[in-house]
Each structure stands twice: as C-alpha cells, then as structure tokens.
C-alpha cells in the first residue's frame, strides 16, 4: 500500500522544515519524514545557535550593515575559492530576505548577550538556541497542516530517469510502506555519524573522531541519491571539524564540548610536541581549523596546555581541566613523557618575546627561534597549577553532497536537471562550501535553499 502527496520532504532539520513550510504555503500537500525519534528531531540544527545573513543596515538584533559583498568576501576567504560563485551569490542575496521570513515562521531572535563569539554584526542568534528555533518551525508546520512522522526511516528511493517516484519505508505509516510524491525535497543531512563511511576516506583515524551531532546523520539518503544517478559535489574528506574535549560522548555532545582556550596556551600531540602555530588567527578561523589539525596527529589526540593565570579568560568548560603542580606531574596525568613535555614547555617559554597581550586582535606577543612559532598571544606558561584539556577531532558535518541548481534542483550525472528532485541543507552544502567554515553559514544554506526547494517543489507539484 502507498500514500501520495504533492511534496515529500526527507529530513527534519532547519532546511527540511523551511522547505516543508514553503511548500505548504505554496499550496502543496506536504509530508515530512524525520528518521530520528521526536527528541532527536532536527539533526544538527538542534545544536546550532545563529545564522549569518547579509543586511544593509543595523537592525534590532544586529549592529551595523553586513553587505552582500562583505559576506561574499568572507565566504571566499574561508573556502579559499572552493565555492560555486553563482550559487553562493544567489544564496547571499536571498539571505537578506530570510532574516525576516524566518521570523514570520515563528522563530525568535535575541541580541547576542554573552559568550566569547563576537558575531553581533554578522550573525543573528536564535532565542533559546537551535532547538527552540526547530520547535517554532515544527509548530508552524503543524499548524499549516504539514504531516510529520518521526522514526520514519527511508530504506530506498524509487527513481527513474532522474525522476523521483516513491520512497520505501522501514516501518509502515498508517499501513503504507511506500510514500509517493510529485516532488521530492531531500534535506537529510550529511554522513558525519556514519563512521564506516568516514573510514573510506580517513582510514582508521575516523575511529577516533567524535561526532558533535546526533547519531542519526548517517547519510543514507545522500548515498541512495548518488547511487541512482545524482551528480555529486564536494571533496568527501572535507568537513566542518573543530577540536573538542576528548572526554565528550561519541555522539551528540554538541556545543558544550568545544574549547576556545588554544590562544591562551600551546597545543601538543601524544609525543608532547607542538605541531602548529597556536597564534595564527582570530576566533572564527582558529575555531574551524583545529579539528583537522588534531585529526592529522598520531592517534588523533592532542592536549591544550596552559597555566592557572588564564583559567577565567575563556568560557567555562563542561569538563574541568586536568591539573598538575609541575609540568612533569601534569604530563604523568596525561600519559605524556614528562621529560618531553618539560622540554617543550621550556623551549616555548624561552622563545616568548615581550609584548602587550590582547586576545581580541592579532597582538605583538610572539615567539622567536622556535618551530612552529606562536605568532600572536604568546605568553610564558609558568604559574602552577599547570592545566590541560585533552582534545579530539569533533566532526560537525560533511561536505560531500548532491549538485544543485539555483532552484535547488538536483543535477544528474549527465548534467541534466532532475524533473522533480530538490535538495537543501547539509546534503548540498558542498555546492557553496568547498572547504572551511564561518559561523552560521550552515543555517544560511539550510534556510535559503530550504525555502527555495520547498517553493520550487510545490510549484512543480501543482503544475
């Protein structure tokens, strides 16, 4: 038995809900299949906090203008040019309108009050965070008459000549084990929680990755689409990865396991050796590079080492730092070679040159005669207790995805647009983000392309 709708949305995060709402407002009958149980609905959106949108003037919640051109330059900077310019500029233009549209869907913003993020000009913050934003979108979708099912895992997609026909269900819904729809919106996220798939590109190192979001982001829809002729986009090894506490749970530790203390100390690997300039850049970039840096170290582990003078300089942490009265004692607790760590700290301390410390700018505190250097914020580590956070790569989302057009329509391997398949969110983020990341861009991609995909899917269905 099967059920038929105008638009089928697979996924349950920001992109999926924006698509569902837009399609429903476009007059279509809409069903949303969320693979996770209700509590875990929304994939990575659960853990997000803000969205980056262009705006021409200050608003109630945002200071100053953030022009399309500036957004574009920021995107160019973080991706190193690995982006589809036409799609990216289109997204940036649409992001201006999304700021208001998302509020019309019940989502509420708050001024940026605290924390260490200095994003008050570029990014809008969700009141109550990502889950609050999701709750609002779900409530609006339900009120509009969108049908929503949880634990609704799709096991197969029936696609013929680039045309979606039906989705097969693991568990029947109202007796139906198949959902047919005139249009499909795939918004089911990346494959970051699929360790086996990650291992295809990372090898055994992926066993040591921690996944910041839910265990339900397994990329099964992406895999089906690519297997059935949809064109892929993006480097499969590229992902949004930050250094998070090694004591965090394997899945769903979310935002609170991150560390922003790198700038206040040094980072060593399991051989107690430094391996990268801890003072290279300011927050947004620094935040996004350390996941990959740690992933490249032996056993994918590293330790942020600092001393007691700076413990109140960064956000309070979920896990307390590991402490030792001497560097050797600390090394013992971290299972590092005490002599090696003592030498690394001593060498670093000896190389520090005097300067005026200011962690909000690229200051003049730096090292000399040491490799790698610490080019900013270098201060001696010499006041006990000595402290450390163990860190591992924390994967947020992957960039391999389905190639899409400006209308969020999937492109097939032969270069032709699909008749009725659209994609939004992380499943197509790689079109815009070839590599790198800047805070809030995932949500921009999700909302902008979600709305476009929903609108276009409804238009197709009602034609």
């Amino acid at each position: 038995m099967s059920k038929k709708y105008d638009v089928l949305v697979i996924g349950g995060g920001n992109a999926a809900l924006c698509a569902a709402i837009a399609a429903r407002r476009g007059g279509a009958s809409v069903v949303v299949l969320e693979g996770a149980p209700k509590f875990y609905r929304g994939g990575n959106t659960r853990h997000t906090r803000n969205m980056r949108c262009a705006h021409d003037a200050a608003t109630e919640i945002l200071t100053g203008p953030y022009t399309e051109e500036e957004f574009w330059k920021d995107l160019l900077l973080v991706t190193g040019g690995q982006t589809d310019e036409e799609l990216a500029r289109h997204m940036i233009r649409e992001s201006k309108d999304i700021l208001n549209w998302i509020v019309e869907q019940g989502v509420r913003w708050q001024p940026s009050l605290g924390g260490t993020l200095s994003l008050g000009r570029t990014n809008s913050f969700f009141l109550g965070g990502g889950r609050a934003m999701l709750n609002a979108l779900y409530l609006t979708a339900e009120q509009l008459g969108v049908e929503i099912h949880y634990d609704a895992e799709v096991t197969d997609l029936v696609i013929e000549d680039g045309m979606f026909l039906a989705a097969r269900l693991k568990r029947p819904i109202d007796g139906a084990n198949e959902i047919r729809a005139t249009s499909l919106v795939a918004a089911a996220g990346g494959f970051e929680a699929n360790i086996e798939w990650l291992k295809e590109y990372w090898g055994d190192a992926a066993d040591n990755f921690l996944i910041r979001g839910t265990p339900y982001n397994r990329g099964s829809i992406l895999k089906m689409l690519l297997a059935k002729g949809v064109q892929d986009v993006g480097d499969p090894t590229q992902c949004h990865a930050v250094a998070i506490d090694a004591r965090a749970p394997k899945f769903d530790g979310g935002i609170i396991t991150r560390h922003d203390s790198v700038v206040f100390g040094i980072v060593v690997n399991k051989h107690a050796q430094r391996f990268y300039d801890e003072g290279e850049d300011i927050w947004p970039k620094r935040y996004a590079i350390w996941g990959r840096l740690v992933a490249a170290q032996p056993d994918q582990i590293a330790y942020i080492i600092f001393d007691s003078t700076v413990v109140t300089s960064f956000m309070p942490t979920l896990f307390p730092p590991i402490a030792g009265q001497t560097v050797a004692e600390l090394a013992g607790k971290l299972d590092l070679d005490p002599a090696a760590l003592e030498k690394t700290v001593a060498d670093f301390n000896a190389a520090v040159r005097p300067g005026i410390f200011d962690h909000t700018i690229l200051d003049d505190c730096r090292t000399e005669g040491i490799t790698p250097p610490k080019t900013h914020w270098a201060r001696r580590i010499e006041t006990p207790p000595y402290l450390a956070y163990p860190v591992r790569p924390g994967i947020t989302f992957t960039y391999l995805g389905t190639r899409v057009t400006r209308e969020a329509r999937m492109l097939m391997k032969d270069g032709k647009p699909s008749a009725n398949m659209f994609a939004a969110g992380e499943i197509m983020a790689g079109n815009v983000l070839g590599k790198g990341y800047a805070a809030g861009m995932g949500m921009t991609i999700g909302s902008v392309f979600g709305r476009i995909a929903g609108r276009e899917a409804a238009k197709h269905a009602r034609n």
Partner: protein
Amino acid sequence: MHGTRILDEADRLMTVCNSCRYCEGLCAVFPAMEMRRAFSDGDLNYLAHLCHACGACYVDCQFSPPHEFNVNVPKTLAVARAESYAAYAWPRALSGVFARNGLVISLMAALSMAAFILGFAAAHDRDVLFGVHTGPGAFYKLMPHNAMAALFGAALLYAILALVMSVRTFWRDIGAPIGGRADSGSIFQAIRDAGELRYLHGGGVGCYNEDDRPTDRRKLYHHLTFYGFLLCFAATCVGTLYHYLLGREAPYPWWDLPVVLGTLGGIGLVVGPIGLFAARMQRDSELLDEGRYGMDVGFIAMVFLNGITGLALLSLRETAAMGPLLALHLGAVFALFITMPYGKFVHGIYRFTALVRYAQERRSAS
C-alpha cells in the same frame, strides 16, 4: 560538594549551562549564572528562586532528558527551591512543617475553622448564632470588632515577623553584603518584574505546562490569585480605616469600596486557584517537583477556601447562614495568616527578594 544532593545536581547543571549559554535570553536565571563560574549554596538557592518554572529552557535544551547530559533545570531548581523554604524557615524549630506541609496546612485550616465555630457556639445562644443580623455592626454581634482586630492583627504580625527573619537569612545567603540594603531602584525594578511575572513568559511565547506547546494560562491564573489576594487585603485595610477613622461599621453596602474590592478579589481567589490546580494536574511530570504535591495543593486549597467562604458570606450575609459562614471565613483567614511563613506563600517573598538581588547585580554590572 554542597549541603544537599539537589544542590550538587544544581551545581552540575549550572556547569553544563554555563558552557552552553543558549538560554541566556530566556529569563534571569541564565544571565545571573553567567556572572559566576563557581556556585555556593547561596548562589544556587538564589538561582533557584529566580526560576519561575516556565519550562522554556527544558523544551529548548538539546541536552534535556533522554540526552545523557540529563539537563532538567526547571525541575532541579523547583526541588532546590522547595528544600530552601525549610532551610530558611524561622524559627528553625518549625522548618519541619515544610516536610509535611499539606497535612499541616489542612489541619490548621480545619482546626481554626472548628475553633471559630465552637467559639461562636459557646459564646452565643442558638438564636444569635443562627439569627438574621443586618445593618452596621451585624458581624460584631458574633465577635466583637476589637477581639477580631486583636486576634488577626497578632496572627498577621507573627507571620510578618517570621517572614522577615527568614528573608534576612536568605538575603545574606545569596551574596548580598552583610548588613547591605537593597537600593530603591532595584526594589522598584523587582516590583515591576514580579508584578508582571516577567520571567514566566518563556522568553516571549508563553510558559510551558503539559507539553512542548507554549501557553500563557498559568500566568493568567497566577495573576488572578495574586491580585485577588492583594484586593482582598486592600478590602480589609480599607474596612479597618472606615472603622477607626470614619466610625463606619461593617457590613458595608455592595457598592462600597471594601465590598467592591473584596468581591473582585474573592472572584480572583476562586478562579485563580482552580486554574492553578488544573494546570498543576496537567503539568508534564518531567517539569514537576512531584514530592511537593501536598505543599502546592495545600496552599492552593487554602487560598481557594478563603475566596469561596468570603464570597459565600457576602452573598448570604443577610440570612441565617451568616453566623456559621462568618466562622468558616474567619477560620480560613486565620489559618492562612498563621501558616503563611510555613507554606507555599513564601515562594513569592523569596522570588521577590531574588529579583531585587538580580536587579542590583544588573545595575552594578552595567
């Protein structure tokens, strides 16, 4: 380690929340938390009393149960709040009253109502007790005004003394400087925040009760109860002034100020508690301090009893039922006064005190 298991849990949660801070825009608890990196018992009690149990942070939290971080701020702070009532009670010997609150409150209500009925019956003939008394001074045929004023004045003064002593301990414990006083600006701010229940709005959408859909009903019923209480109190004050300043004796005609205030207040004290009781019964058990059923319901019932006996007395005061109804109403009021420092009534006092402290902290931070 803290004094109690619940404070240990509150400390754990505040450590989790302080490393997240997504909820900082929802209410006062989280900005107050952000001003601290470590939490004393007093800090945690302060945060517990800032929490209005709107439930928004629970519904919005990505780490609430069934997540392994098991973050349930409203419930944890509700238990901490309730435990702190006993911890700050004066005199200390009576702090145990909170543990069996429902029982104590109902016993007090029953006993004092019975005492008034028996007292009336013992002091008067049957034809006085069940007589029809009208016109000024009708009530005082059953109990002389001066006796009434002395008895209720004494009960109220005791309640105020006990509450002041408790709040003093609380004020010192939540980090106010010893001997420190609240400035008038902070008090004014707190009056506004408490008066409009500013933090029972879930960050703007309304508070959560039975599920993840926000509604504002608890706020409405709380307003009815609270302002109903204030109107009734105002009615009593105006009546007292009439008596001593103008020499006008109760009962007053229906259009007169004490009766108008009392009628409106009485309606609030009937509708409000019914709504609060219904909301409590519907509330998601994940958000509820289930161990405090007796205290919550005991207080709701006591307030309701005050309202309903007052309204009954008003409508039947010119009939033979006046005597017994007056005894019931006076019994209910007396029980309410005397149990005020040892029941749910105190939550408003501590909450207001915490709001003063919060306003102070905000002013000195900015």
